[in-house]
Symmetry: C2
Subunit: 456 residues, 2 copies
């Protein structure tokens, strides 16, 4: 099972735009939007149905409104640990039976944990939907947790951490960059957890976490595919509907960041590093915490600045000046709380890392000073729309957008209005986003360097 | 009321040594040590009596085993806030009556909050001891907490934070250095609290904190002065003894630091800065968390390296080479968990900050390579003993050593063995401490610079 920092918003927007784009060509966006249905079962489970009749396939996803940023101090890694435990025995099914049932009918399954949510999904034929719901509803409350189960899986996770983080200098650096950028908010803690805390997670921790968070009123069921709303409702009531409501959870209010007044650097030197690289991060609002239009502007700024081969940074540093092997920008828009905007670069040949960093900064300054042209802004917006083809092929991508966005507090209405909000962004807003980034007094720059190297 | 990061261990050791030094000249150290008495009342209050009959004065200190590092996430500042609230009205005394009673008899009083403890003290004539105990015992449980009291004092604390931190670039930098050095442990959070969290502290927070921590079984009464053990016991039983035991608190186990693999910098540029300065910090064991002899070696390393005008750093950078206006080293030994070892320096005239930093690092490297001489080690140890004169005049200093050390989990036995442990440190141990510092892969260096300046 993989954990991910979050769904990349770039993909999210691309897919959302799809709905409307398809709709515009057929029945108009209102009709299209209206087709996504949402209702809440008596026990508090939110159900979202996204019809998609292009193929006889259904994506069944269950999202829990809990991620690593909801963990108690000292218990880091428990959310991701739990993602693993959910594949163990339940009172009704031995370990592996659920996965075998998926495999037997040629289905796919996976699970992932982020700062803000944990999700489980299967993609199967519509006839198997009820069976998936039965299995998923069963493990929501009927896991058999024992000391042995916990100890065995803890070893697996320790190995996972060794291979993903301890053995990867970039992974180690990323963790310490986050721990430096966030001075107070729990996004500073890695999703997989700190090693010394993973080692101490025990049965009592697992049981407490399970009983608190794995309840229908803390979950969102997203079903996308060749199925109608009434069928999903009936099946959900027959399966999930039988689970009693759990204790209601308080609002997810986490410690916020103080004002940041310092420029920070985090440097990791490691003999395993062959190519130096820098990463610079800013703390910025997410789609959930931003004022209207602000997050959309950061998304377009990231796209124009360094979103791919057509971006300014790529064209200037990699294509024209040939000083960087790679360079770009990103914006992590889908998050419950304030999030990160970032740029990165890695030099090519004898060029210095500091020259690459300066060139990237110069591109931000150019936009902060002169803004972007209408033409490149329209092209950037259209690059989202071009992803339609990808989205058409990704029913699970659509389900994932709804699940992740709803998990961090967005609404179906805000999800459906996204494409329009992106289209409405002005070049002045993009410039304002660049000015804000450039003028920030609080940033973190990470350097990954070969052993013994100074930053040159 | 002031808050302090902690009592400086240098002073602590100086004072402890006094007891033995005086003892040696009179009745021998064992007899001297035996004179410090400790007992526990039925309600769990620990009482420590330190006889000191040089003058008709008594120091009455009440220590609570709670500091800012025990606060819940998002509630930073509540421990220090409470220190203020303790000077408000109780059911039996209007606000100001306690302080007026102290002033009336020519006494002194104060209070302070650290990461690990909160303490209140008065210094008065022995005849007033019972009255002090009555007042102090009264406010342990009888504070009148209202929305108005909380709101009024919150404004006072916000002003205190503005003047101590917001208006002091060095204070701002210090906060972000700590938040960078500690990636997981609550020492990352300032004792006074983050401004945005102070603003939200309310009556419910205050009441919960008071009821949890302000109970006799979470407190240590230290009485030093012209009074005998039996008198203190009788008075303590008549006053504090009447307070019922509170709910027992769990062990103070806080989230520990992960392994740190990066070198970090934190830079603050501010127009109010006239003199650039650097501070470099390492995470090292405290007296409570160290292996035997380790903390003592760090104390002597700090003393030899940069403990004052006789130290290597001062002699080389300030006196001989005249490149620094000031420079030195410190070790924050008194702490419940892993703590900091640090060096700092500030250039004089046209010398660069980086030259000063390099020269300080060179002094650490010299000790790491060649160790220290027996002669300078003995002199460093003797500088502690020379503080005897200061200690003789400071009854409250002695009470403070016992209170702070016991609050962070040391024992009377370990406090009394301190001077001997310091004497037993070898030059090899001091060298090992320097090697450890120099070879650390995880450090934080802070730079305080005038606006617009680069580090030169």
């Amino acid at each position: 099972m993989k954990y991910s920092a979050s769904v990349l918003r770039t993909i999210a927007i691309a897919l959302i735009v799809t709905v409307v784009a398809l709709g515009q060509g057929r029945a108009g966006p209102d009709t299209e939007a209206a087709r996504v249905a949402s209702f809440i079962l008596g026990n508090g489970l939110q159900v979202v149905v996204i019809p998609d009749h292009r193929a006889p396939v259904v994506t069944h996803m269950l999202w829990y409104r809990v991620g690593s940023a909801d963990e108690e101090p000292g218990k880091s890694g428990i959310a991701h640990f739990f993602e693993h435990l959910m594949f163990k025995s339940t009172k009704n099914h031995p370990q592996g039976e659920f996965s075998a049932a998926v495999a037997e009918i040629g289905g796919q399954e996976n699970a992932f944990t982020s700062f803000d949510y944990t999700a489980y999904y299967q993609q199967v034929a519509p006839s198997a939907l009820k069976s998936m719901m039965e299995f998923e509803a069963d493990r929501m409350r009927n896991l058999v947790l024992t000391d042995e189960v916990v100890a065995t899986e803890r070893d697996v996770i320790i190995e996972e951490r060794v291979s993903r983080v301890e053995n990867d200098p970039g992974g180690l650096l990323g963790e310490e960059i986050n721990a430096t950028l966030y001075q107070n908010h729990p996004y500073r803690t890695p999703v997989i957890g700190w090693m010394h805390e993973i080692r101490k997670l025990n049965l009592a921790d697992a049981v407490a976490f399970y009983n608190r968070y794995y309840v229908p009123n803390n979950a969102i069921l997203v079903v996308a595919g060749d199925v109608d709303q009434q069928t999903v409702k009936t099946l959900a009531e027959e399966t999930y509907g039988r689970i009693p409501r759990g204790t209601d959870l308080p609002p997810r209010i986490r410690p916020a960041e103080p004002r940041q007044d310092t420029m920070r650097t985090v440097t990791l030197r490691d003999e395993r590093v062959t190519q130096p690289v820098f990463r610079k991060l800013w703390l910025v609002p997410s789609y959930t915490s931003a004022k209207p239009g602000e997050a959309e502007a950061f998304d377009l700024l990231a796209e124009i600045l360094g979103g791919g081969a057509r971006s300014r940074i790529y064209q200037k540093l990699v294509v024209d000046d040939r000083i960087a092997a790679s360079a770009g920008a990103w914006y992590q828009g889908t998050a419950l709380d304030d999030t990160t905007f970032g740029v990165w670069g890695s030099p090519v040949d004898d060029n210095s890392l500091s020259a690459v960093e300066a060139a990237v900064t110069a591109e931000i300054a150019r936009i902060a000073e002169n803004g972007v042209t209408e033409d490149e802004m329209e092209k950037a917006k259209n690059r989202f729309l071009k992803s339609v083809i990808f989205a058409r092929d990704s029913q699970s991508g659509m389900a994932r957008i709804y699940g992740s966005s709803l998990s961090v507090g967005e609404t179906i209405d805000s999800i459906e209005k996204w494409p329009g909000e992106i289209k409405a962004v002005t070049s002045a807003q993009i410039r304002a986003a660049a000015v804000r980034i450039l003028g920030s007094k609080g940033t973190v720059t990470g350097y990954l360097l070969p052993n013994g190297d100074d930053i040159k």
